[in-house]
């Protein structure tokens, strides 16, 4: 890149470039190792990013599944809650029916007594 205008430049600038190039070429091993580690650390950032691209659709899918589950579960729960009340009422009704049946059976068993009692009342009135 730095050869583009090198012919038009003053000589001292080319010399300065040469000095800078020399200083870059003769870096010690420790510095080169640290540069290598820095480069690897920078490149390692790219790997998780590719896998992170899956996180958004996966998160959206999970959120949709949860919403769907809540939407399905809530109406069922509501129906169950609503159906509990009629069952209770029905039970009470059944209990009432049972009472009335017992009452009527007792009534039929003592029917003769009630007829006699009625006759007695009529005789008393007359």
């Amino acid at each position: 890149m730095n050869d583009i205008h090198s012919n038009d430049r003053p000589a001292w600038i080319n010399q300065a470039n040469q000095v800078l190039d020399d200083s870059v070429r003769d870096l010690d091993a420790a510095t080169l190792s640290r540069l290598n580690r820095a480069r690897q650390a920078a490149l390692a950032q790219q790997r998780p990013r590719a896998s992170r691209a899956w996180l958004l659709p996966a998160g959206l899918a999970s959120a949709c599944a949860m919403l769907l589950a809540v939407a399905v579960w809530q109406p069922r729960h509501r129906t169950e809650t609503q159906s509990t009340a009629p069952i209770a009422t029905g039970t009470i009704a059944t209990i009432d029916d049972g009472d009335s049946e017992e009452t009527s059976a007792e009534f039929y068993q003592n029917l003769e007594f009630y007829a006699w009692l009625d006759a007695q009342n009529k005789g008393g009135d007359g």
Binding site: Q15, A16, V19, S23, V24
Partner: protein, 201 residues
């Protein structure tokens, strides 16, 4: 079943293609960073005055570049990397200016305190550093000192235009300023360097 098998094969192929594209991009990035890292370190060292700080700045610039610009076309990588590096160097320079102001306040308050001298603790930016000790020439030392003495923007203009070989427009893009500012910074840098290097011409 055949349709499912076909879809699986297609998605597997797509996955393999994606993995291949990522690894190709990583190889290209690795090659690019290998090509620019030494010059970037040299630029950072001239701006920071210390090898350790320069390495930190270069690593930070590499990480930010890969994070933000890895997907850009390869032809744009060099100006973009230098733009990130220039921005990091500006940040470093700003932090150091603030720190030196605080140090100056501290120095004024503790004139009578002989226990710690902040000036002695501060870094010597005129120290040639190991790079030029390796180069070992008087011209190299003089250039190093002259470059370190330049203001940050003038030094960046000189290094980007004259050493990296960017044209005025690209240098302006990297330094996030107008082309006129680049020309002004460069002209002042050349004049200052010429004065400083007169003995070595």
């Amino acid at each position: 079943m055949a349709e499912i098998a076909g879809t699986m094969t297609g998605s597997q192929l797509e996955f393999a293609r994606r993995v291949d594209a990522i690894s190709t991009n990583q190889r290209a990035l690795d090659q690019f960073l290998r090509g620019v890292e030494r010059r970037a370190l040299r630029m950072a060292e001239l701006a920071c005055g210390s090898r350790d700080d320069a390495l930190d700045v270069v690593q930070d610039a590499m990480c930010a570049f890969v994070r933000n610009y890895a997907a850009k076309p390869e032809a744009d990588w060099a100006p973009l990397f230098h733009r990130v590096l220039d921005s990091r160097l500006n940040d470093f320079h700003r932090r150091r200016t603030v720190r030196s102001r605080w140090l100056a306040v501290f120095d004024r308050k503790s004139d009578d305190d002989d226990a710690l001298d902040p000036i002695e603790q501060a870094q010597d930016t005129q120290d040639p550093g190991p790079l030029l000790r390796l180069a070992g020439s008087e011209a190299g030392k003089a250039l190093d000192a002259a470059l370190k003495a330049l203001p940050l923007r003038q030094r960046q203009a000189f290094l980007l235009r004259m050493w990296e070989g960017f044209d005025v427009a690209t240098t302006a893009q990297v330094m996030q300023c107008s082309e006129g500012s680049v020309k002004t910074h460069l002209s002042r840098a050349l004049a200052a360097l010429r004065r400083a290097l007169e003995d070595h011409q």
